[in-house]
């Protein structure tokens, strides 16, 4: 149990996908302008990460490894994720239209999101069990959510600020991201000591 809590908390705070592993930077910079779209995008990411892990983990363990096809991992995973995202979109559209309305626009964007592919591959590389892998995916998704929501707050402050011309747009956003990521460095070592 303690191990699961450590995995969850360190995925959220210490190895935060966006701010310390640099995965999923595109949506982090592109969709973080408004709070509601940042929230929608992150909830869609959490959802897809959990689904993707639930599907790719058994595929790797029970299909690829026993048949000596480990080298097909990259191709199989990206295809499974792409198909899964399409499937989720169709199902949502048919059965839960209200959820499709709020999450649907973000789903296609997630197919080529490196955070989702990254979490599925890392779960295998780290040698997690199925339960640990699911917890790690949940933690990574929550970490993404936290970073997106925090950063959309930071960005709304930047909008009104007076910045030098050549820093307008992306450069100042990146420097704000750097300071946000600096604040996350403070969590290093906290979680190991919490349970030591």
């Amino acid at each position: 149990m303690t191990k699961l809590i450590i995995i969850l908390l360190s995925a959220v705070f210490i190895n935060n996908y966006v701010l310390s592993r640099f995965l999923g930077i595109c949506p982090f910079l592109g969709v973080s302008k408004k709070l509601d779209s940042a929230t929608g995008m992150s909830i869609a990411v959490i959802f897809v990460m959990l689904m993707a892990t639930a599907v790719t983990y058994p595929i790797q363990m029970y299909l690829l490894v026993p048949n000596d096809l480990g080298y097909l991992q990259t191709i199989v995973f990206i295809l499974v994720i792409a198909a899964l995202v399409q499937l989720v979109e169709i199902v949502l559209k048919r059965y839960i239209p209200s959820l499709h309305k709020s999450l649907g626009v973000y789903l296609p964007l997630i197919t080529t999101n490196c955070a989702v592919l990254g979490v599925t591959i890392l779960n295998i590389d780290e040698g997690y069990t199925f339960l640990e892998a699911m917890v790690n995916s949940l933690g990574s998704g929550l970490g993404f959510f936290l970073a997106m929501v925090m950063f959309s707050g930071v960005r709304s402050k930047i909008e009104g600020a007076d910045i030098p011309k050549s820093f307008k747009g992306l450069p100042v956003t990146l420097i704000a991201a750097s300071i946000t990521s600096l604040s996350f460095l403070g969590f290093g070592g906290v979680i190991e000591n919490l349970f030591a």
Partner: protein, 222 residues
């Protein structure tokens, strides 16, 4: 002459990293040392070259509606080959790139060039475009890695530099330093190489999945 333009535009005018803002994830993650930056640049260039050539050769065969999945499968195939080659011949590089090597699949530069260039142009032009873009990517990565390694670690290619070695600013090699140096580099490019800062916002333009997710962009009010 036009062929030469095709090559050089990737290096400065349409630099994939600093001007088109594609492939930010590997840029930030693998620029902690010059040697891993060159490794990443070379791996991505090889994949880009192969995928551009094949996609451009098959551009009349691939149906328009399913082109993105086709491109992804082709790219994933080439990435797997590069992964196996690196594992066999440069195990140290494989270790330093880690997860970012398979993630070349979702590198927006490769899908972006397939979508923006290779499916409209001839094989030779696409190959030249791929080389130019690959060179631009590698150069941008190296510029960032040089700053981060020299000032953050006090070394260059692993060789210690006398004064800087004992006065290194180690935050530059960590995550916040990556964002910071990248921000500064883009600001410099904005100042000196493009006459005026881009009017349109970044992020979605140039993204290969832009058409698919226009809904998201509209919701953002871009």
């Amino acid at each position: 002459m036009k062929k030469l333009d095709n090559f050089t535009k990737g290096i400065i005018k349409e630099n994939p990293v600093l001007v088109l803002i594609l492939g930010t994830c590997p840029t930030l993650a693998t620029s902690t040392s010059v040697s891993s930056a060159i490794g990443m640049g070379a791996a991505a260039t090889v994949v880009l070259l192969c995928s551009n050539i094949v996609i451009s050769a098959l551009r009349k065969v691939i149906p328009d509606k399913v082109r993105i999945p086709c491109y992804i499968v082709l790219i994933a195939g080439f990435v797997t080959m590069v992964q196996m080659l690196v594992k066999a011949f440069a195990p140290a590089l494989d270790k330093s790139l880690g997860i970012y090597l398979p993630l070349i699949v979702v590198n927006c530069i490769i899908l972006g060039r397939a979508e923006m260039f290779a499916n409209k142009n001839k094989v030779i032009d696409s190959a030249i475009d791929a080389l130019g873009m690959g060179a631009g990517f590698t150069l941008a990565l190296c510029a960032m890695a040089t700053i981060r390694e020299v000032f953050g670690n006090g070394t260059f290619f692993g060789i210690p530099i006398p004064v800087l070695e004992s006065n290194n600013i180690s935050i530059l090699t960590m995550a916040p330093g990556g964002f910071f140096v990248f921000g500064l580099l883009i600001a410099i490019v904005n100042k000196f190489f493009t006459s005026k800062p881009k009017k349109k916002d970044f992020g979605c333009e140039g993204c290969p999945s832009r058409d698919v997710c226009r809904g998201a962009a509209e919701k953002e009010g871009v």
